[in-house]
């Protein structure tokens, strides 16, 4: 009886584990099968042809997603420029400098940051951050890629901080002792020994943060202006893949070419985040072996 119960519980949890894999495959299949009609009607090359996304055009519809991909990467990379230095510095402080009590207070507060609804952050970006950006850089409008990058950076921060902190804490204590014994200061130890030793973990944390940033929708939708033109700098308005789906999915007639094209956009977005997360995982595994 007891064994039976143990086994039942074991298989139940195994089934739960399998479920997430089945869901992942299911989403992959759904996106691919729903985007096939678009590939037949529009053609793969037209999705990557020069031009811009405009399926509801007055004259001829266009389906180029190049500008959307560029916008997505700009916001994703831009957010890392903010979030990585800030996040790693914060993680280093938590892992190496802060006392136990400080850590107990700071960690939950940083995790609360992850709980801010993205629509609230987007509104904050639209009415608070955008005017500040416009003022600082002498622009007419601060509704641009930079605004989106800052806000998404804030969203990616908790992911980066907690994973980077884990990586730094996992560096064996003997490394630090050896360094200190050789006469290095605490600062030198952190900068030359601990951080380099945790580097692959920090990179993995950053990439997972980027995966989060690339898929973020609502904040970007509200803060970046969603213009369809090719962005040439961070001061230009951009539209990301995820924002594009959110904007158009609600109104599109089910079964139309436009509808299936949005599934293709979703498929591309899925592949991008999948590859980023996979790379992060590979780096993370390697880092585990190193330690």
């Amino acid at each position: 009886m007891h064994n039976f119960k143990e086994n039942a519980i074991k298989y139940f949890f195994m089934a739960n584990g399998m479920l997430s894999i089945i869901i992942l495959l299911g989403i992959f299949y759904l996106l691919l099968s729903r985007s096939l009609p678009a590939l037949q009607n529009v053609g793969l090359t037209n999705f990557f042809a020069p031009g811009y996304w405009n399926p509801t055009a007055y004259t001829t519809p266009q389906y180029s997603i190049l500008n959307l991909i560029k916008g997505t990467f700009m916001v994703g990379a831009g957010s890392l420029i903010f979030a990585v230095p800030l996040g790693v510095a914060c993680a280093t402080y938590l892992a190496e400098v802060a006392g136990a009590r400080e850590r107990e207070v700071l960690k939950p507060i940083i995790e609360i940051l992850a709980g801010i609804p993205s629509v609230v952050l987007g509104f904050f970006g639209l009415v608070v951050v955008a005017p500040v950006i416009a003022e600082l850089f002498g622009l007419n409008s601060g509704i641009n890629a930079l605004n989106g990058s800052i806000l998404v950076g804030i969203m990616a921060l908790p992911t980066i901080v907690s994973l980077a902190e884990d990586a730094i804490s996992a560096v064996p204590q003997s490394y630090r002792h050896a360094s200190l014994a050789l006469g290095a200061t605490k600062w030198q130890t952190i900068l030359r020994i601990t951080l380099p030793a945790a580097l692959s973990g920090i990179i993995a944390a950053s990439m997972l943060g980027m995966g989060r940033a690339v898929g973020e929708t609502m904040t970007v939708l509200m803060a970046t202006g969603n213009a369809l033109a090719k962005p040439s700098s961070f001061f230009d308005s951009v539209r990301t893949l995820s924002a594009n789906i959110a904007i158009e999915m609600g109104e599109v007639p089910v079964g139309s070419v436009h509808y299936h094209s949005l599934f293709f956009v979703g498929f591309v977005l899925f592949m991008i985040t999948f590859i980023i997360n996979l790379l992060a995982d590979v780096i993370f595994q390697r880092y585990r072996e190193e330690i």
């Binding site: 007891h2 119960k5 519980i9 139940f12 739960n16 479920l19 811009y52 405009n54 399926p55 509801t56 055009a57 007055y58 004259t59 500008n67 639209l126 009415v127 955008a130 005017p131 416009a134 007419n140 409008s141 601060g142 509704i143 939708l221 509200m222 202006g225 969603n226 213009a227 369809l228 033109a229 090719k230 308005s237 539209r239 904007i247 158009e248 609600g250 109104e251 599109v252 007639p253 089910v254």
Partner: protein, 324 residues
Amino acid sequence: MYSGRGNTGRGKFFLPFLFVVVALLLAVSVPVGCGQGTGTSADAAKQGKSTAAATIQIRGSDSEVNLVQRLAELFMEDHPGVQIAVTGGGSGTGIAALIDGTIDIANSSRPMKEEEINQARRNGIEPVPVRFAVDGVAVIVNESNPVETLSVAEIGAIFRGDITNWREVGGEDSPIGIYGRQSNSGTYVFFMETVLQGDYTPQMRNMGGNADIVEAVTTDKTGIGYVAIGYVTDGGSVRPGIKPVKVSRNPGETSYTPIELENITSGKYPITRPLYQFLNGRPEGAVKDFIMFELSDRGQKIVLEQGFYPITDEDRKFNENSLK
């Protein structure tokens, strides 16, 4: 709580835990399993028409959402049994929901397209249009912008991207910051078809709603945008920070402001449009009462109070025709 620490105790702890996990899984899978779940509330509303209690689901146009919400509030005061839920999302979103049968009334600031009507009919839904207010789509610029008047052709050229500097239309030497709506907006479609008669420039920022455009033009000194007239004024006067330009039908002709009733009813202001609601079949019960309330003198007075304009005789004839 910690009385049983042995194996049997743990077993007792695990069983309730399993129930919680199973319950959570079910809670997640059920809404996913039946995406049409929302349809039932609209169906229930239809069946509930014989009784006093009824729920009316309204979705769509961002331009109309505040107005319809106000109308619904006042209607519910007089009809305590009726619940009306009004949400925005854009005309296209409302029409899509009507086609899917998940709502009772779709707010739309544009007529339904032929293919949308056909699609609704294939789903067994017969869209019936009602015009309940008139809108003068205002072209707004920043308060500090010296440009006072524009012709329809100039506005079209700006939004198509053919004119990119304020100097070309009598303003200062500075680039034009263009703010428009997203493709799910009825105003976006209406403006594209009647004013641009071409494609929007890809440089245009696509904002989520009328309020976002007002906000953006308030902060951008070089900005231009288009919004429903109800978003230009607040309690009878123009909102601070923005300025609706006077619009002439052709270059050189007299231009008119959209904030005067006379300019709209006489048709002198060139960019006016009726605001629609689409019903599923001829209205009955609570939906009919609500529509009649909107079209009544009291309803039309509220329309005016909310910054929009009352329907014309032509619109009344249109309504009689479609409700008959």
